[in-house]
Amino acid sequence: MSVPISAPELLSRDFLEVRAKILELAACLDRFQRAAGSVEGDPRMRRIAEGLHLLQSADQPDRAEQVQLIFSLPYEEGWRGKWNV
């Protein structure tokens, strides 16, 4: 099923919202840096960096799904046998 309205129309409609979300992220990262203590080396920061990197891949048509995968625990094949359930 296609998107009924065009890409330029969508961009005009959503531009300010995207800008606001990027700004919010930037301010968040600044705040982490400004506050006492350090989050460097925290695995959550690594996942945030991975997510941000992924957004820039122009040839990726499923960014939302890929971001979800970055923030997901892995599934284990054969889990029923291992637990005997």
Partner: protein, 278 residues
């Protein structure tokens, strides 16, 4: 537009919320049994909860001319207590033949533990033996992908289950495909921060089509928005989708799914069909 909210926990909401929902076009809702924010101590605690779901909530909905349907189970969080879960499962048949009880739900996984899986499987067994419909909760955030796949494994391993009578709820971008491909129904929950937004739900409709898909608010005692389905309707309109497609998702699809339950008796608003057009 008239709509049905297929997943909302009205026991946690006020009568004012019922009134607001009615004013926004809600004509019916289904309320799965869930975790009330604290662990109940006994099977009688659940019996009283099931009485509230089957008698008081339909009455409150009726004050505003809406129809209330419900589902019975012990939820995944309390399923960690296997002994209590077995007592509740043994008691559930007292309620499963009552008017408005659509089946077993919302069962599922929460932290993807062995005990949760054991209790999930015992619910499936009861559903298969009694030919009940099933409504499933999938875990949130980092547990969702793994938990949803474990749930799909258990459903597919039980050959007695008819996939078209099972709704797997709280799907998101990384879990929706696997659920739909196995022939199950899928629910998208619009919820602040931890689940899906109206715009992303519209995206998933565009990517996967409207068949076997529903949207719900899962409104409960936590931060949630009982009027999330009207937000979705507005997002669909702003994206340029026709009213007929929107109605299919928010009205006809829930009707088609619920109509497979023997205890589903629905009086549609004037001028609307009793069942979804095929």
């Amino acid at each position: 537009m008239y709509y049905i909210d297929p997943h909302i926990h009205m026991v946690s909401r006020t009568t004012d919320d019922y009134e607001t929902l009615a004013k926004m076009g809600c004509v019916a809702m289904s309320e799965p049994a869930f975790w009330a924010g604290f662990d109940r101590g006994s099977v009688d605690g659940f019996r009283d909860y099931f009485r509230q779901l089957t008698s008081f909530e339909p009455k409150r909905a009726g004050w505003y001319h809406m129809q209330h349907f419900t589902w019975m189970c012990i939820n995944a969080k309390e399923a960690e207590n296997v002994k209590l879960s077995r007592e509740v499962i043994a008691m559930m048949p007292e309620f499963l033949d009552m008017p408005g009880v659509l089946g077993i739900g919302e069962i599922g996984l929460n932290k993807n533990t062995k005990n949760e899986s054991i209790v999930f499987l015992e619910h499936l067994d009861l559903a298969a033996k009694r030919s009940e419909q099933i409504l499933i909760h999938t875990p949130h955030l980092e547990d969702k992908l793994k938990g949803t796949r474990m749930i799909v494994d258990m459903l597919c391993d039980d050959r007695r289950l008819d996939h078209s009578r099972v709704l797997v709820d709280h799907v998101e971008e990384h879990t929706i495909r696997g659920v739909l491909e196995e022939g199950f129904w899928a629910g998208m929950t619009l919820y602040p921060v931890s689940k899906c937004t109206p715009e992303r739900a519209v995206d998933m409709i565009e990517l996967y089509g409207p068949e076997r898909l529903m949207v719900n608010s899962a409104g409960d005692w936590g931060p949630s928005k009982p009027t999330a389905v009207p937000d979705f309707i507005m997002a669909m309109r702003r994206r340029g989708h026709p009213e007929s497609l929107i109605r299919k998702i928010v009205y006809e699809n829930p009707l088609e799914f619920f109509s497979q339950s023997r205890n589903f008796q629905f009086t549609p608003p004037e001028g609307l069909p009793t069942a979804a057009a095929k």
